[in-house]
Protein backbone atom coordinates (compact mmCIF):
# COMPACT_ATOMS: atom_id res chain seq x y z
CA UNK A 1 0.00 0.00 0.00
CA UNK A 2 2.59 2.48 1.09
CA UNK A 3 3.94 3.22 -2.34
CA UNK A 4 5.71 6.33 -1.15
CA UNK A 5 7.69 4.63 1.60
CA UNK A 6 11.37 4.93 0.94
CA UNK A 7 13.91 2.47 2.31
CA UNK A 8 17.66 2.54 2.09
CA UNK A 9 19.57 0.71 -0.60
CA UNK A 10 21.33 -1.26 2.13
CA UNK A 11 18.07 -2.53 3.53
CA UNK A 12 16.81 -3.27 0.04
CA UNK A 13 19.96 -5.31 -0.62
CA UNK A 14 19.59 -7.08 2.69
CA UNK A 15 15.99 -8.09 1.95
CA UNK A 16 16.95 -9.14 -1.56
CA UNK A 17 19.87 -11.29 -0.42
CA UNK A 18 17.72 -13.00 2.20
CA UNK A 19 15.10 -13.62 -0.42
CA UNK A 20 17.64 -15.41 -2.63
CA UNK A 21 18.23 -17.75 0.31
CA UNK A 22 14.48 -18.28 0.60
CA UNK A 23 14.08 -16.20 3.76
CA UNK A 24 12.20 -13.11 4.88
CA UNK A 25 13.37 -10.35 7.22
CA UNK A 26 11.08 -11.45 10.04
CA UNK A 27 11.79 -15.14 9.57
CA UNK A 28 8.43 -16.02 8.04
CA UNK A 29 7.96 -18.40 5.13
CA UNK A 30 6.80 -16.82 1.87
CA UNK A 31 3.16 -17.76 2.37
CA UNK A 32 3.01 -17.20 6.11
CA UNK A 33 0.84 -14.50 7.64
CA UNK A 34 1.93 -12.47 10.62
CA UNK A 35 0.02 -13.02 13.83
CA UNK A 36 -3.59 -11.93 13.55
CA UNK A 37 -5.76 -10.68 16.37
CA UNK A 38 -9.32 -9.41 16.08
CA UNK A 39 -11.08 -7.57 18.88
CA UNK A 40 -14.73 -6.90 18.29
CA UNK A 41 -17.08 -4.32 19.82
CA UNK A 42 -14.27 -2.01 20.80
CA UNK A 43 -16.32 1.13 20.11
CA UNK A 44 -19.56 1.20 22.06
CA UNK A 45 -21.03 4.09 20.08
CA UNK A 46 -20.73 2.20 16.81
CA UNK A 47 -23.26 -0.39 15.66
CA UNK A 48 -20.36 -2.74 15.04
CA UNK A 49 -16.60 -2.42 15.26
CA UNK A 50 -13.40 -4.39 15.11
CA UNK A 51 -9.76 -3.69 15.83
CA UNK A 52 -7.55 -5.87 13.68
CA UNK A 53 -3.87 -6.38 14.32
CA UNK A 54 -1.87 -8.01 11.59
CA UNK A 55 1.60 -8.19 13.03
CA UNK A 56 2.19 -4.57 14.05
CA UNK A 57 -0.29 -3.16 11.54
CA UNK A 58 -3.42 -1.89 13.23
CA UNK A 59 -6.72 -1.09 11.59
CA UNK A 60 -9.92 -0.03 13.29
CA UNK A 61 -13.20 -0.46 11.42
CA UNK A 62 -16.47 1.02 12.63
CA UNK A 63 -19.94 0.35 11.24
CA UNK A 64 -22.75 2.86 11.64
CA UNK A 65 -26.29 2.38 10.36
CA UNK A 66 -29.13 4.79 9.78
CA UNK A 67 -32.32 4.87 7.71
CA UNK A 68 -32.16 6.86 4.51
CA UNK A 69 -33.29 7.02 0.92
CA UNK A 70 -32.45 4.16 -1.46
CA UNK A 71 -30.76 4.72 -4.80
CA UNK A 72 -33.30 5.30 -7.57
CA UNK A 73 -32.27 2.24 -9.56
CA UNK A 74 -32.42 -0.08 -6.53
CA UNK A 75 -35.55 1.07 -4.61
CA UNK A 76 -35.79 -2.20 -2.63
CA UNK A 77 -32.19 -2.48 -1.53
CA UNK A 78 -30.20 -1.14 1.36
CA UNK A 79 -27.07 0.87 0.72
CA UNK A 80 -23.45 0.18 1.68
CA UNK A 81 -21.00 3.08 1.78
CA UNK A 82 -17.36 2.28 2.48
CA UNK A 83 -14.78 4.88 3.35
CA UNK A 84 -11.15 4.68 4.34
CA UNK A 85 -9.12 7.23 6.23
CA UNK A 86 -5.37 6.99 5.88
CA UNK A 87 -4.80 9.37 8.77
CA UNK A 88 -1.33 10.90 9.16
CA UNK A 89 -0.80 9.30 12.56
CA UNK A 90 -0.52 5.90 10.88
CA UNK A 91 2.54 6.44 8.70
CA UNK A 92 5.10 9.10 7.82
CA UNK A 93 3.93 8.81 4.22
CA UNK A 94 0.26 9.60 4.92
CA UNK A 95 -0.84 13.19 4.62
CA UNK A 96 -3.89 15.01 5.89
CA UNK A 97 -6.55 16.00 3.40
CA UNK A 98 -9.09 14.29 1.19
CA UNK A 99 -8.41 10.61 0.38
CA UNK A 100 -5.78 10.11 -2.30
CA UNK A 101 -5.93 7.31 -4.87
CA UNK A 102 -4.32 4.82 -2.47
CA UNK A 103 -7.05 5.44 0.09
CA UNK A 104 -9.75 5.33 -2.55
CA UNK A 105 -8.48 2.04 -3.95
CA UNK A 106 -8.33 0.57 -0.44
CA UNK A 107 -11.90 1.61 0.35
CA UNK A 108 -13.19 0.32 -2.97
CA UNK A 109 -11.49 -3.05 -2.49
CA UNK A 110 -12.91 -3.46 1.01
CA UNK A 111 -16.28 -2.52 -0.47
CA UNK A 112 -15.83 -4.97 -3.35
CA UNK A 113 -15.32 -7.85 -0.93
CA UNK A 114 -18.44 -7.10 1.08
CA UNK A 115 -20.57 -6.30 -1.96
CA UNK A 116 -19.54 -8.97 -4.46
CA UNK A 117 -19.60 -11.80 -1.91
CA UNK A 118 -23.22 -10.75 -1.21
CA UNK A 119 -22.40 -11.09 2.47
CA UNK A 120 -25.09 -8.54 3.33
CA UNK A 121 -28.61 -9.26 2.11
CA UNK A 122 -29.37 -5.80 0.79
CA UNK A 123 -33.03 -6.61 0.17
CA UNK A 124 -33.50 -7.45 3.84
CA UNK A 125 -32.43 -3.87 4.59
CA UNK A 126 -35.45 -2.37 2.83
CA UNK A 127 -37.83 -0.59 5.25
CA UNK A 128 -40.34 1.10 2.92
CA UNK A 129 -39.75 0.23 -0.78
CA UNK A 130 -38.58 3.26 -2.73
CA UNK A 131 -38.68 5.46 0.35
CA UNK A 132 -36.64 4.19 3.24
CA UNK A 133 -33.85 1.65 3.54
CA UNK A 134 -31.00 1.00 5.96
CA UNK A 135 -27.71 2.59 5.01
CA UNK A 136 -24.58 0.85 6.27
CA UNK A 137 -21.51 3.02 6.63
CA UNK A 138 -18.29 1.05 6.86
CA UNK A 139 -15.50 3.36 7.96
CA UNK A 140 -11.95 2.09 7.90
CA UNK A 141 -9.45 3.88 10.09
CA UNK A 142 -5.84 2.92 9.55
CA UNK A 143 -3.99 3.40 12.85
CA UNK A 144 -0.56 1.93 12.17
CA UNK A 145 0.69 0.99 8.70
CA UNK A 146 3.26 -1.76 9.06
CA UNK A 147 2.33 -3.27 5.73
CA UNK A 148 -0.61 -5.02 4.11
CA UNK A 149 -3.26 -2.73 5.56
CA UNK A 150 -5.62 -3.87 2.80
CA UNK A 151 -5.99 -7.41 4.16
CA UNK A 152 -6.29 -6.01 7.68
CA UNK A 153 -8.94 -3.49 6.63
CA UNK A 154 -10.91 -6.10 4.75
CA UNK A 155 -10.76 -8.45 7.73
CA UNK A 156 -11.81 -5.61 10.01
CA UNK A 157 -14.78 -4.76 7.82
CA UNK A 158 -16.26 -8.25 7.85
CA UNK A 159 -15.49 -8.73 11.57
CA UNK A 160 -17.20 -5.42 12.35
CA UNK A 161 -20.22 -6.36 10.24
CA UNK A 162 -20.43 -9.69 12.05
CA UNK A 163 -20.78 -7.85 15.34
CA UNK A 164 -23.19 -5.25 13.97
CA UNK A 165 -26.54 -4.73 15.65
CA UNK A 166 -29.16 -2.94 13.56
CA UNK A 167 -30.25 0.06 15.71
CA UNK A 168 -33.95 -0.30 14.90
CA UNK A 169 -35.20 0.87 18.32
CA UNK A 170 -33.39 4.21 18.03
CA UNK A 171 -35.40 5.02 14.92
CA UNK A 172 -38.72 3.57 16.12
CA UNK A 173 -38.48 0.62 13.76
CA UNK A 174 -38.94 -2.23 16.22
CA UNK A 175 -36.36 -4.03 18.27
CA UNK A 176 -32.64 -4.07 17.60
CA UNK A 177 -31.41 -7.18 15.89
CA UNK A 178 -28.14 -8.73 14.76
CA UNK A 179 -27.29 -7.90 11.14
CA UNK A 180 -27.62 -11.22 9.30
CA UNK A 181 -24.68 -12.15 7.08
CA UNK A 182 -24.52 -14.75 4.33
CA UNK A 183 -20.82 -14.97 3.62
CA UNK A 184 -17.39 -14.16 5.02
CA UNK A 185 -15.17 -12.74 2.27
CA UNK A 186 -11.43 -12.72 3.01
CA UNK A 187 -8.85 -10.68 1.11
CA UNK A 188 -5.37 -12.09 0.75
CA UNK A 189 -2.53 -10.12 -0.80
CA UNK A 190 0.78 -11.21 -2.24
CA UNK A 191 3.64 -9.20 -3.69
CA UNK A 192 5.88 -10.35 -6.49
CA UNK A 193 9.61 -9.64 -6.47
CA UNK A 194 12.09 -11.41 -8.72
CA UNK A 195 9.61 -14.22 -9.31
CA UNK A 196 9.21 -14.76 -5.56
CA UNK A 197 5.67 -14.44 -4.24
CA UNK A 198 5.34 -13.18 -0.68
CA UNK A 199 2.05 -13.13 1.18
CA UNK A 200 1.13 -10.56 3.78
CA UNK A 201 4.03 -8.21 2.96
CA UNK A 202 5.51 -6.07 5.68
CA UNK A 203 6.11 -2.40 5.06
CA UNK A 204 9.72 -2.88 3.88
CA UNK A 205 8.77 -5.74 1.62
CA UNK A 206 6.08 -3.54 0.09
CA UNK A 207 8.71 -0.90 -0.55
CA UNK A 208 10.95 -3.20 -2.58
CA UNK A 209 8.26 -4.86 -4.67
CA UNK A 210 6.26 -3.01 -7.25
CA UNK A 211 3.61 -5.61 -8.03
CA UNK A 212 0.82 -6.71 -5.76
CA UNK A 213 -2.15 -8.99 -6.33
CA UNK A 214 -5.13 -9.19 -4.02
CA UNK A 215 -7.60 -12.07 -4.21
CA UNK A 216 -10.87 -11.92 -2.29
CA UNK A 217 -12.45 -15.31 -1.78
CA UNK A 218 -15.76 -16.47 -0.35
CA UNK A 219 -16.81 -19.31 1.95
CA UNK A 220 -17.40 -21.75 -0.90
CA UNK A 221 -13.85 -21.23 -2.16
CA UNK A 222 -14.82 -19.00 -5.08
CA UNK A 223 -13.26 -15.68 -5.97
CA UNK A 224 -15.44 -12.59 -5.69
CA UNK A 225 -12.86 -9.92 -6.39
CA UNK A 226 -9.28 -9.32 -7.33
CA UNK A 227 -6.98 -6.46 -8.10
CA UNK A 228 -3.45 -6.12 -9.38
CA UNK A 229 -1.78 -3.00 -8.13
CA UNK A 230 1.59 -1.39 -8.64
CA UNK A 231 3.78 -0.69 -11.63
CA UNK A 232 5.08 -4.18 -12.33
CA UNK A 233 3.93 -7.17 -14.35
CA UNK A 234 2.70 -10.66 -13.49
CA UNK A 235 2.90 -13.84 -15.51
CA UNK A 236 -0.32 -15.88 -15.84
CA UNK A 237 1.38 -18.76 -13.95
CA UNK A 238 2.14 -16.41 -11.07
CA UNK A 239 -1.49 -15.30 -10.99
CA UNK A 240 -2.66 -18.90 -10.74
CA UNK A 241 -0.11 -19.73 -8.06
CA UNK A 242 -1.27 -16.74 -6.01
CA UNK A 243 -4.90 -17.80 -6.40
CA UNK A 244 -4.17 -21.33 -5.20
CA UNK A 245 -2.39 -20.18 -2.06
CA UNK A 246 -4.76 -17.24 -1.49
CA UNK A 247 -7.87 -19.41 -1.36
CA UNK A 248 -6.20 -21.78 1.07
CA UNK A 249 -4.95 -18.95 3.32
CA UNK A 250 -8.36 -17.29 3.29
CA UNK A 251 -9.95 -20.53 4.44
CA UNK A 252 -7.48 -20.87 7.32
CA UNK A 253 -8.02 -17.27 8.45
CA UNK A 254 -11.78 -17.58 8.19
CA UNK A 255 -11.92 -20.81 10.18
CA UNK A 256 -9.52 -19.66 12.86
CA UNK A 257 -10.74 -16.13 13.51
CA UNK A 258 -14.25 -15.65 12.25
CA UNK A 259 -16.15 -18.91 12.45
CA UNK A 260 -15.33 -19.67 16.10
Amino acid sequence: MSVTNVISEIKKDFIYNLLLKGERIDGRTFDQYREISIQRDVIRKAEGSALVKLGSSQVLVGVKMQPGEPFQDTPNKGVIITNAELVPLASPSFEPGPPNEVGIELARLVDRGVRESKAVDLEALCIIPGKQVWIIFIDVHILDDCGNILDAASLGAIAALMSTKVPAARYGLGEDYILPLRDIPIATTAIEFNDVLMFDPGVDEEAIANTRLTIISTMNGNICGSQKSGTGMLKPEQVHRIIDIACEKAKEIREKFLEA
Binding site: E101, V102, I104, E105, A107, R108, R112, R115, E116, L213, T218, G221, N222, I223, C224, G225, S226, Q227, K228, S229, G230, T231, G232, M233, L234, K235, P236, V239, H240, I243, D244, C247
Partner: protein, 250 residues
Amino acid sequence: MDETDISFFKDGLRLDGRKADQLRPVKIEVGVLARADGSCYIEMGGNKVIAAVYGPREVHPRHLQEATRAIVRYRYNMASFSVEDRKRPGPDRRSQELSKVSREALEPVILTSFFPRSVIDVFVEVLQADAGTRTAGINAAAVALADAGIPMKSMISSCAAGKVADTIILDPMKEEDNFGQADLPIAMTPGGDITLLQMDGGLTPDEFQRAVEMAMKGARDIYEMQREALVKKYSQMVEQPGREEVHVCD
Protein backbone atom coordinates in the same frame (compact mmCIF):
# COMPACT_ATOMS: atom_id res chain seq x y z
CA MET B 1 -28.33 -7.83 -9.74
CA ASP B 2 -28.26 -11.43 -10.91
CA GLU B 3 -31.96 -12.21 -10.62
CA THR B 4 -33.13 -11.44 -14.11
CA ASP B 5 -35.15 -13.02 -16.84
CA ILE B 6 -32.86 -11.76 -19.56
CA SER B 7 -31.71 -14.69 -21.63
CA PHE B 8 -28.16 -14.04 -22.67
CA PHE B 9 -28.02 -16.63 -25.42
CA LYS B 10 -30.24 -17.38 -28.39
CA ASP B 11 -29.34 -20.37 -30.54
CA GLY B 12 -25.89 -20.35 -28.93
CA LEU B 13 -25.28 -16.71 -29.85
CA ARG B 14 -25.21 -13.62 -27.64
CA LEU B 15 -27.66 -10.69 -27.58
CA ASP B 16 -25.75 -8.94 -30.36
CA GLY B 17 -25.19 -12.14 -32.32
CA ARG B 18 -21.63 -12.74 -31.14
CA LYS B 19 -20.12 -16.07 -30.19
CA ALA B 20 -18.95 -16.52 -26.59
CA ASP B 21 -15.32 -15.83 -27.49
CA GLN B 22 -15.86 -13.07 -30.02
CA LEU B 23 -14.85 -9.40 -29.66
CA ARG B 24 -17.13 -6.52 -30.57
CA PRO B 25 -16.10 -4.60 -33.71
CA VAL B 26 -13.03 -2.45 -33.08
CA LYS B 27 -11.99 0.71 -34.91
CA ILE B 28 -8.74 2.48 -34.13
CA GLU B 29 -7.54 5.81 -35.54
CA VAL B 30 -4.13 7.26 -34.75
CA GLY B 31 -3.24 10.95 -34.54
CA VAL B 32 -6.71 12.45 -34.35
CA LEU B 33 -5.82 15.54 -32.29
CA ALA B 34 -3.66 18.36 -33.64
CA ARG B 35 -2.43 19.84 -30.35
CA ALA B 36 -1.51 16.63 -28.54
CA ASP B 37 1.91 14.99 -28.93
CA GLY B 38 0.16 11.72 -29.56
CA SER B 39 -3.48 10.72 -29.77
CA CYS B 40 -5.83 7.90 -30.61
CA TYR B 41 -9.54 7.43 -31.09
CA ILE B 42 -10.98 4.00 -30.46
CA GLU B 43 -14.38 2.40 -30.84
CA MET B 44 -14.95 -0.95 -29.18
CA GLY B 45 -18.54 -1.94 -29.69
CA GLY B 46 -20.60 0.93 -28.27
CA ASN B 47 -17.61 2.52 -26.54
CA LYS B 48 -16.17 5.68 -28.02
CA VAL B 49 -12.99 6.78 -26.32
CA ILE B 50 -10.33 9.33 -27.19
CA ALA B 51 -6.85 9.45 -25.66
CA ALA B 52 -4.18 12.14 -25.80
CA VAL B 53 -0.58 12.13 -24.64
CA TYR B 54 1.39 15.25 -23.72
CA GLY B 55 5.04 15.06 -22.90
CA PRO B 56 7.61 14.39 -21.76
CA ARG B 57 7.21 17.90 -20.41
CA GLU B 58 7.93 19.94 -17.30
CA VAL B 59 6.22 18.82 -14.11
CA HIS B 60 3.76 21.13 -12.40
CA PRO B 61 3.56 21.23 -9.43
CA ARG B 62 7.35 21.01 -9.16
CA HIS B 63 7.53 18.91 -6.01
CA LEU B 64 6.09 15.94 -7.89
CA GLN B 65 9.13 15.61 -10.11
CA GLU B 66 11.47 12.64 -9.71
CA ALA B 67 15.24 13.01 -10.07
CA THR B 68 15.78 9.71 -11.88
CA ARG B 69 12.74 9.23 -14.07
CA ALA B 70 9.66 10.73 -15.63
CA ILE B 71 6.42 10.43 -13.71
CA VAL B 72 3.35 9.19 -15.53
CA ARG B 73 -0.07 10.70 -14.92
CA TYR B 74 -3.25 9.16 -16.25
CA ARG B 75 -6.63 10.81 -16.11
CA TYR B 76 -9.66 8.71 -16.94
CA ASN B 77 -12.68 10.94 -17.36
CA MET B 78 -16.23 10.19 -18.40
CA ALA B 79 -18.27 12.75 -20.29
CA SER B 80 -21.52 13.52 -18.49
CA PHE B 81 -23.49 12.48 -21.58
CA SER B 82 -21.63 9.20 -22.09
CA VAL B 83 -24.04 7.15 -19.98
CA GLU B 84 -27.81 6.62 -19.69
CA ASP B 85 -28.30 8.76 -16.55
CA ARG B 86 -26.24 11.93 -16.71
CA LYS B 87 -22.98 11.53 -14.85
CA ARG B 88 -21.92 14.37 -12.60
CA PRO B 89 -18.87 15.90 -14.24
CA GLY B 90 -15.48 15.62 -12.59
CA PRO B 91 -13.54 12.87 -10.86
CA ASP B 92 -15.32 10.45 -8.55
CA ARG B 93 -13.98 7.49 -6.62
CA ARG B 94 -14.52 5.08 -9.49
CA SER B 95 -12.65 7.22 -12.00
CA GLN B 96 -9.81 7.78 -9.55
CA GLU B 97 -9.39 4.05 -9.00
CA LEU B 98 -9.53 3.40 -12.74
CA SER B 99 -6.99 6.15 -13.36
CA LYS B 100 -4.64 4.50 -10.87
CA VAL B 101 -4.88 0.95 -12.22
CA SER B 102 -4.75 2.15 -15.83
CA ARG B 103 -1.62 4.14 -15.17
CA GLU B 104 -0.12 1.08 -13.51
CA ALA B 105 -1.09 -0.96 -16.56
CA LEU B 106 1.00 1.27 -18.85
CA GLU B 107 3.87 2.34 -16.61
CA PRO B 108 5.68 -1.04 -16.67
CA VAL B 109 6.47 -0.64 -20.38
CA ILE B 110 7.28 3.08 -20.48
CA LEU B 111 11.03 3.81 -20.33
CA THR B 112 10.61 6.58 -17.78
CA SER B 113 14.32 6.66 -16.90
CA PHE B 114 14.99 8.36 -20.25
CA PHE B 115 13.29 11.55 -19.07
CA PRO B 116 14.24 12.50 -15.50
CA ARG B 117 12.33 15.37 -13.86
CA SER B 118 9.58 15.34 -16.46
CA VAL B 119 6.03 14.12 -16.77
CA ILE B 120 4.18 12.10 -19.35
CA ASP B 121 0.51 13.02 -19.18
CA VAL B 122 -2.13 10.68 -20.52
CA PHE B 123 -5.68 11.99 -20.80
CA VAL B 124 -8.53 9.64 -21.60
CA GLU B 125 -12.02 10.91 -22.32
CA VAL B 126 -14.90 8.47 -22.51
CA LEU B 127 -17.37 9.98 -24.95
CA GLN B 128 -19.78 7.07 -25.08
CA ALA B 129 -19.81 4.16 -22.64
CA ASP B 130 -21.01 0.61 -23.20
CA ALA B 131 -19.09 -1.59 -20.72
CA GLY B 132 -15.35 -1.94 -21.06
CA THR B 133 -14.41 1.74 -21.04
CA ARG B 134 -11.25 1.17 -18.98
CA THR B 135 -9.97 -1.44 -21.43
CA ALA B 136 -10.82 0.78 -24.40
CA GLY B 137 -9.11 3.69 -22.65
CA ILE B 138 -5.93 1.69 -22.03
CA ASN B 139 -5.84 0.46 -25.64
CA ALA B 140 -6.23 4.01 -26.93
CA ALA B 141 -3.70 5.38 -24.44
CA ALA B 142 -1.08 2.79 -25.41
CA VAL B 143 -1.45 3.69 -29.08
CA ALA B 144 -1.35 7.41 -28.25
CA LEU B 145 1.88 6.89 -26.28
CA ALA B 146 3.44 5.19 -29.29
CA ASP B 147 2.12 7.96 -31.53
CA ALA B 148 3.76 10.53 -29.24
CA GLY B 149 7.07 8.74 -29.75
CA ILE B 150 7.43 7.78 -26.09
CA PRO B 151 9.96 4.94 -25.86
CA MET B 152 8.24 1.79 -24.67
CA LYS B 153 9.39 -1.76 -24.09
CA SER B 154 6.29 -3.05 -25.80
CA MET B 155 2.67 -2.29 -26.61
CA ILE B 156 -0.08 -2.78 -24.02
CA SER B 157 -3.40 -4.31 -25.04
CA SER B 158 -6.43 -4.66 -22.83
CA CYS B 159 -9.59 -6.73 -22.90
CA ALA B 160 -12.19 -8.07 -20.48
CA ALA B 161 -13.81 -11.45 -20.01
CA GLY B 162 -17.01 -12.03 -18.09
CA LYS B 163 -19.49 -14.65 -17.01
CA VAL B 164 -23.16 -14.77 -17.92
CA ALA B 165 -25.54 -17.69 -17.51
CA ASP B 166 -22.60 -19.73 -16.13
CA THR B 167 -20.67 -19.26 -19.38
CA ILE B 168 -17.34 -17.47 -19.70
CA ILE B 169 -17.58 -14.82 -22.42
CA LEU B 170 -15.21 -12.38 -24.07
CA ASP B 171 -15.65 -8.61 -24.06
CA PRO B 172 -18.99 -8.20 -22.19
CA MET B 173 -21.33 -5.49 -23.43
CA LYS B 174 -23.51 -3.34 -21.16
CA GLU B 175 -26.35 -5.82 -20.60
CA GLU B 176 -23.93 -8.66 -19.95
CA ASP B 177 -21.92 -6.54 -17.55
CA ASN B 178 -24.92 -5.19 -15.63
CA PHE B 179 -26.77 -8.46 -15.24
CA GLY B 180 -23.86 -10.88 -15.55
CA GLN B 181 -22.09 -12.88 -12.88
CA ALA B 182 -18.55 -11.56 -13.20
CA ASP B 183 -16.31 -9.08 -14.97
CA LEU B 184 -12.55 -9.57 -15.35
CA PRO B 185 -10.57 -6.92 -17.24
CA ILE B 186 -6.88 -7.46 -17.97
CA ALA B 187 -4.10 -5.60 -19.76
CA MET B 188 -0.91 -7.21 -20.97
CA THR B 189 2.12 -7.03 -23.21
CA PRO B 190 2.10 -9.02 -26.46
CA GLY B 191 4.47 -11.39 -24.63
CA GLY B 192 1.76 -12.24 -22.11
CA ASP B 193 2.96 -10.28 -19.07
CA ILE B 194 -0.09 -9.05 -17.19
CA THR B 195 -0.06 -5.39 -16.17
CA LEU B 196 -3.69 -5.00 -15.11
CA LEU B 197 -5.94 -7.57 -13.52
CA GLN B 198 -9.18 -6.79 -11.80
CA MET B 199 -12.22 -8.89 -11.06
CA ASP B 200 -15.57 -8.57 -9.41
CA GLY B 201 -18.48 -10.96 -9.24
CA GLY B 202 -18.20 -14.68 -8.61
CA LEU B 203 -15.88 -17.17 -10.26
CA THR B 204 -14.47 -20.53 -9.22
CA PRO B 205 -10.66 -20.71 -9.36
CA ASP B 206 -11.01 -22.78 -12.54
CA GLU B 207 -13.36 -20.25 -14.16
CA PHE B 208 -10.98 -17.48 -13.13
CA GLN B 209 -8.18 -19.19 -15.00
CA ARG B 210 -10.31 -19.72 -18.10
CA ALA B 211 -11.48 -16.09 -17.99
CA VAL B 212 -7.88 -14.86 -17.80
CA GLU B 213 -6.97 -17.05 -20.77
CA MET B 214 -9.94 -15.82 -22.80
CA ALA B 215 -9.24 -12.16 -22.00
CA MET B 216 -5.59 -12.69 -22.99
CA LYS B 217 -6.67 -14.11 -26.31
CA GLY B 218 -8.86 -11.05 -26.88
CA ALA B 219 -5.98 -8.74 -25.94
CA ARG B 220 -3.74 -10.50 -28.46
CA ASP B 221 -6.29 -9.82 -31.22
CA ILE B 222 -6.51 -6.19 -30.16
CA TYR B 223 -2.72 -5.92 -30.24
CA GLU B 224 -2.78 -6.81 -33.95
CA MET B 225 -5.33 -4.04 -34.58
CA GLN B 226 -3.31 -1.47 -32.59
CA ARG B 227 -0.22 -2.40 -34.56
CA GLU B 228 -2.06 -2.20 -37.85
CA ALA B 229 -3.45 1.26 -37.00
CA LEU B 230 0.01 2.60 -36.13
CA VAL B 231 1.62 1.07 -39.20
CA LYS B 232 -1.14 2.54 -41.36
CA LYS B 233 -0.58 6.08 -40.12
CA TYR B 234 3.17 6.02 -40.45
CA SER B 235 3.23 4.26 -43.81
CA GLN B 236 0.94 7.01 -45.14
CA MET B 237 3.42 9.59 -43.89
CA VAL B 238 6.18 7.83 -45.80
CA GLU B 239 4.13 7.67 -48.97
CA GLN B 240 3.20 11.35 -48.75
CA PRO B 241 6.28 13.09 -47.39
CA GLY B 242 5.62 16.54 -46.03
CA ARG B 243 2.08 15.65 -45.14
CA GLU B 244 2.83 14.80 -41.53
CA GLU B 245 2.22 18.36 -40.36
CA VAL B 246 -1.20 18.47 -41.95
CA HIS B 247 -3.98 17.48 -39.66
CA VAL B 248 -6.76 15.65 -41.43
CA CYS B 249 -10.04 15.44 -39.57
CA ASP B 250 -12.67 13.30 -41.21
